[in-house]
């Protein structure tokens, strides 16, 4: 693979993690899946009934894949001259994982 392209991989990993946590918190899926009906719908759709949940996780992933791809393409000219530090590609996703633990803390705290 082209070296110029691979230089953005740390940026891609960091951008994906940041975009994903925002997309998950704001609920911005590219599409919604309704497992009871077996149907897809564009963007965010609500549950059709209490026993028919709407699934957004697949859509969050695709929103993040596209978003990180756009950020990486935009960063390509910037990385031609110098390589971005590789640590951003693991430190930021690690930080996002810790943020998720904090955001989901109520599942684990006694009520």
């Amino acid at each position: 693979m082209n070296n110029e392209m691979t230089r953005v991989f740390p940026i891609y990993a960091a951008a994906f993690a940041i975009i994903y946590v925002i997309v998950e918190q704001q609920n911005l899926p590219l599409f919604t899946y309704h497992p009871r009906q077996g149907q897809f719908g564009w963007l965010r759709e609500l549950s059709a009934a209490p026993n028919a949940p709407a699934m957004h996780w697949f859509g969050w992933i695709f929103t993040s894949l596209i978003g990180a791809g756009v950020v990486s393409l935009a960063a390509l000219p910037l990385v031609k001259g110098r390589e971005p530090p590789a640590w951003i590609g693991w430190a930021i996703p690690l930080a996002v994982m810790i943020v998720f633990v904090f955001l989901f803390r109520n599942f684990f705290l006694p009520r």
Binding site: Y12, A15, F16, N106, R111
Partner: protein, 152 residues
């Protein structure tokens, strides 16, 4: 059918566990010789595992995604009714961790690309260790959930 997919998902996860754990040990705690069980476990050529681990991660994720709708319909309501909040939250965290790991795969491939570049040594160890944690966490949570309430 769903049970078959779940078993396949589990078997692929076991293969991934083995590969990523070997590679993490090789990156974070390299062995000087291969004498003894622990040293042999660490003394593998980590780079050889990269492509297989990427394929296994993606295949395992796709299989998990295929099973996931059945889980949402059959297991999640049970967990909510039984007020098994920690178990439910464990799975909610798993899906976020797996997604974050997916975004790290291109970097993981880069840092393990041959010839191994010394400048990526710390990133190689950190990226592999994080993915290893995600895989272990996901495996254990999946196993616990299957014990609490299997897909049927």
């Amino acid at each position: 059918m769903i049970t078959t997919l779940l078993i396949l998902h589990g078997l692929i996860a076991v293969a991934l566990l083995g590969g990523i754990t070997h590679q993490t040990m090789a990156a974070c705690w390299p062995a000087r010789n291969n004498e003894g069980f622990v040293a042999s476990f660490r003394a593998v050529n980590g780079a050889r595992y990269t492509n297989a681990n990427i394929v296994l991660y993606i295949v395992s994720g796709v299989l998990g995604a295929v099973i996931y709708p059945t889980y949402r319909l059959m297991v999640t309501p049970y967990l909510l009714n039984a007020r098994l909040n920690a178990t439910n939250g464990g799975f909610e965290l798993k899906e976020q961790f797996v997604a974050v790991g997916l975004g790290m795969l291109p970097l993981y491939w880069l840092v393990w690309r041959k010839p191994l570049e010394p400048k990526y040594a710390s990133a190689r160890a950190a990226t592999t260790a994080i993915l290893c944690f995600i895989v272990w966490y996901s495996f254990l949570i999946g196993h616990i959930l299957n014990n609490v309430r299997g897909l049927r």
